[in-house]
Amino acid sequence: MAAEKRPDPAVRGGDRSVADLEGIARRLRADIITMLEAAGSGHPGGSLSAIDVLTALWFREMRHRPEEPGWPDRDRFVLSKGHAVPALYAVYAEAGYLRRDELPTLRRLGSRLQGHPDRRFLPCLEGNTGSLGQGISIGIGMALGLRMDRSGARVYVMIGDGETDEGQVWEAALWAGAHGPKVDNLCVLTDVNRIQNDTFCDDELPLEPLGEKWRGMGWNVLDVDGHDMGAVVGALEAARACTGRPTQILCRTVKGKGVSFMENQPGFHGVAPTKEQAAKALVEIAAGLGGSGPAGAGLRAGGRS
């Protein structure tokens, strides 16, 4: 188990290889499916699209102490797309913030694992989210506060591409871009899985060219395949090396990644797998299947039957 060979979490850039990270991500994908099937509701698509990026972030890039969740110099992570919280619970279990056997309690009465992030129950969560558009603003405040403390800690916020429809995202983008040197410890990761609640983003409110928009507001913009672990690790390192500007990493992903019948299916945004679907999904995840190839390649709603 990864728990025994956990690198010193206070040291950034632990010794995990890309292959190690890919192994962790595979395990966490299985955890996501297992807990959603047990819960009978939840959001598999955006959890599976985000999990590779979260794995690189939490098990290689971020400095944090599971044994001391309130460590003042911890790197902060805000999951602005709060509906993907099963992915974060899987990360927490892997890192040691939760017991893995707590995962199947997701969404049950009395569970700490609420349907969306709720720090009243689980204080290691940074921010309560689920009403979209709010995480970057919180991240800016954290980044400013950490700078005032002369802490070297960094702040990461994950948003969704659909979430980018929200006006507050652009308030925050404008402010942070205009005050780059004060918040170059801030990194936003956009899970560009191209699908929102109702349908494909392109069919509802097209967002591209997303990179140009962020660049135009003063951000350092990186664009990576969000399922290429080596590329994600490299982008996180590049974000850390960037001074004078906050960084936006556009992570091009596949919604439902790793489970063939969930990939690119808007129907699996907010519907949990049945027992049979979960069993099939776990087989596919264990075998490392999943059919989409490069993230987002050729994806358009118009191409679907």
Partner: protein, 328 residues
Amino acid sequence: MPVRTFETGPATRDAYGDALCELGAENPRVVALDADLSKSTKSGVFGKKFPDRYWNIGIQEMNMVGMACGLANTGRIPFISSFAVFLMAKGFDQLRMNVAYACENNVKVVGSHGGISIGEDGPSQMGIEDVALGCLLPGFTVCVPADAVAAKALTKAAADHPGPVYLRMGRPKVPLVYRQGERFAFGKAKSHATGGDVAILANGLMLAEAIRASDLLRDEGIEATVLDVHTVKPLDEEAVLAAARECGAVVTAEEHLVHGGLGTAVAHCLALHHPVPLEFVGVADTYAESATPEQLLEKYGLTARAIADAARRAAARKGRSGSRGGGH
């Protein structure tokens, strides 16, 4: 006894600026943010003294609430200010999600230009729903100071209070009801007159009007209790119920919609514990208009005379069928 007159004091928003500067000097964890109304809210005076702890972020109320929460996460005590209506209405979801629901966020929310006494700018700038919105947020303390002395003391108390606070400030200069050095605690009403016929519960600039109303009533032989219920939430139920039991009739007076503010909080308390005749003075179910503050307060019924009229109505209802006054 003639109807009292009060010395005109500073606006409560001016007292906010003074208090914030004192807090800045006393506590390095105090920071402040504004959304392009720093000259009006008076947060700008803090910004001049403590530029490293102040952000006038632009016209971004939603972003401001979120930033304050992030700063609170690193141990700061953020005070955020704008016009009451913009902060509470535009920032409401962020206040709900990031402050109230995330319950550990020690954010102090200060809305200036509360009520209709802002005058000529008109209803788009008037906070008449802000107290109701604040009261809807679990865990929030909601406070409407009556004068500059109270505003300064309660702003300073907010910094010491662990948890979210909404403070409502006003634009015009208002009568000085309190002497310098008067002490205040959240949730503790302050008595300004004691009588057995009717209890007038007021806050904000309506407190001075309530005191003047009690003078008008005394000339007619009606003795009124007057309480400054500066904290609408948590309500000082002990004081409210004691006044209701003593007087058997109650009037609330506030510069806010009659729904959702002090009147609603008092009605809730009395309905549960001691129903007595109750009358409400406030802005009826409408928006005001452009005019001078004095004209607006007169037209929309926020005067000592209107309070006295309501007090007579409440007192007259005592002992009629369906209500029981005075008894236990």
